[in-house]
Symmetry: C2
């Protein structure tokens, strides 16, 4: 199987791709452009949610500023020692080709379960390059691992990675199939370092314009920049961005010992409404100058919102997190938390100062523990016939 | 925390339940009766899919003949040694009370994340009693573990259990929250033996009337009985039923070496359409008497459909399975398959003969391996103020 597959990659498939490129593909849509339905499936089971596609091709990669889908898989690979620049090019051509097929609702090139490909459900596949990929290519890396923070309890099994694929769709079976096809493509070039699956609200369960809750019950993502401010925070001029993935365990057992008031104090927002202490509605701007009758700040200095707050749009980050919930232990203690994912143009300039302030003093640290960490450069998108990373590696 | 909680169970909570029962609750709806929307959430984020409720109370438990929701958790407990009939009653009163609250979209009695309870998304909580629960109660058990089959590679960590909670909803966060609340209730009485989470298509991805595919790409559940035939197969006269849960690993790596034709031969149906070899559409009845030009049966004797086929409606089973997909190993081999769940009035009479025929000769056995097995009696439902198991234990 592996041999046949390998022959396919280096033989016919590569030739096919070359031919397509030579033929000159048409200009493609922006990744966050309009949504295009594909044809109903052969078994007639498609609906708008199932057949929805998000364009893969475009100057920017999809899966970044698109509304987060209900299910996400973050798949990190360690490159094999012998993978050089030429091998990286072969791997990325293959992965790009299959990602573009699957996101259109078409089977992968060597798809063994073609019938599972026909309901893309808003599938996106987003590529991230870790420092090790640049090393393998003999190029300087635009990203480095984060420094360690005193709050960290990082585990190797959730950290690092040379290549990341963020696979998201509104359907878990679609993610499962795409993940399997993409892993089969990458296998000859490395090993799976870690996989983190997560979920958000199912399609239609909650109106898209409302912030979703995390496993601690908090509205999560209120401060995310929107529209033009979002684009300013996320995209570099060359259409690249950067991704931080951190696995943050929720210490739910001790969190649950708190009163609602104490939970709210740790964040600086009301649990139910998400309103800051100085406001009445979720999206009211917190007023950090307000003081109570005793002269103390209404927004506590140690609260998460106070510590994480950023005023300058160019210094904000775009959170795109997923919840995780693995099996509890035999005593019933949950293994639950957040696959925190944030996109920003420059991790050192935007993410790091926030993380430093949080690590230094954030009451919420008591109930959240970072157990995994990885940073990836997210290269520009590509047009039809091109491939992700082409500008770097060809 | 545990002590406070325990006091709550044996004190105020039990008294409250008693009072409600004494007041005489109104007659409740059948579990598969009409769907009732609850009020929009305090943050105004509800939609029809999010606020949909399935009535918990009724002569039959919910989560059996209802259309399977998108996400399911099967949670099995081992009872503590000192749990007797009286303790079982306390545990089941508490679990019943919280299940009825959560399925209405209301917080559990001691809910620590009340805001996560407001979008039930069609939540059902179904109770199953294993042989060990009857032993603890000093009662004869209507179910026994399945005999071992030569195809089995059962693991303790996926097998057995004294109490099962099947928690299903169209939203994964809803399942996560309900699972945590129910486990907190059961904790004083035992330990978590295993948890199996699974998924089906997200709401709206595929029209409800169509059969869904499993991770092997097969349409799974075509032969399920419907309407009156379904009720005949599932329910006993006293409104009880029985549940078999088997974890079936998909040997996807070797499955993927097969041609589509060979895959179809192992099942006796076309992969894409699901039609039997003797028909053109998925729901055409297979004709096991048909022979080809060479005089051989068109439906192969060793095919899954041939082996699993049941004509008598009283001997059919109702499959209600979920897909699982855990993280692959470092070489990329998937850990994926089916949390097979079937409901039938009498496991020995209905399930066992099918399973025996499949174990004896079913080509599909080559690519599926049972690694877990458990059987539960599913007692009748209850009306408001009552509790699941009351007829047995009070």
């Amino acid at each position: 199987m592996t041999i046949g597959r390998r022959a396919l990659l280096t033989g016919g498939a590569a030739a096919g791709l070359g031919a397509a490129a030579a033929a000159g593909a048409a200009l493609s849509r922006r990744s966050d452009g309009p949504v295009v339905p594909v044809a109903a499936t052969t078994t007639g089971t498609g609906t708008d949610t199932g057949t929805r596609t998000i364009a893969f091709h475009g100057p920017r990669q999809a899966g970044v500023t698109d509304e987060p889908q209900a299910h996400g898989a973050f798949v990190a690979f360690t490159l094999a020692k012998d993978v050089d620049r030429a091998a990286l090019g072969r791997m990325l051509r293959l992965l790009t080709d299959d990602a573009s097929r699957l996101t259109r609702g078409e089977p992968a090139l060597a798809d063994t379960e073609a019938d599972l490909a026909v309901l893309p459900a808003g599938l996106t596949v987003t590529f991230g390059f870790g420092p090790g990929l640049y090393r393998a290519a003999g190029l300087p890396s635009p990203v480095t691992d984060l420094p360690s923070f005193t709050i960290d309890r990082l585990q190797d099994r959730w950290s690092g990675g040379d290549l990341l694929l963020q696979i998201c769709a509104d359907d878990a079976l679609t993610v499962t199939h795409a993940q399997r096809m993409m892993i089969k493509d990458a296998r000859p070039f490395g090993s799976v370092r870690w996989v983190q699956r997560g979920f958000r609200r199912s399609p239609g369960v909650q109106a898209a314009e409302f912030t979703q809750r995390n496993v601690l019950g908090q509205l999560d993502g209120t401060a995310n920049p929107k529209d033009a401010a979002r684009d300013t925070a996320v995209w570099n001029a060359d259409h690249s961005t950067q991704l931080v993935v951190r696995r943050i365990r929720a210490e739910i057992e001790t969190w649950d010992l708190l009163s609602v008031g104490d939970k709210e104090n740790s964040v600086g927002r009301r649990m139910t409404s998400g309103a800051p202490f100085t406001g009445v509605a979720e999206h009211d701007e917190p007023d950090f100058t307000a003081v109570d009758e005793g002269g103390l700040p209404v927004m506590p200095d140690f609260a998460h919102v106070t510590r994480a707050h950023v005023t300058d749009p160019q210094l904000k980050i775009l959170r795109r997190p997923y919840n995780y919930d693995e099996a509890p232990d035999s005593s019933g203690r949950p293994d639950s938390g957040l696959v925190f994912a944030s996109y920003q143009a420059d991790t050192a300039r935007q993410f790091l100062p926030i993380q430093r302030r949080l690590a230094e003093k954030d009451l919420l640290n008591e109930w959240t523990t970072p157990i995994g960490s990885a940073v990836f450069a997210v290269p520009p998108g590509c047009s039809e016939g091109g491939w992700i990373g082409e500008h770097l590696l060809s």
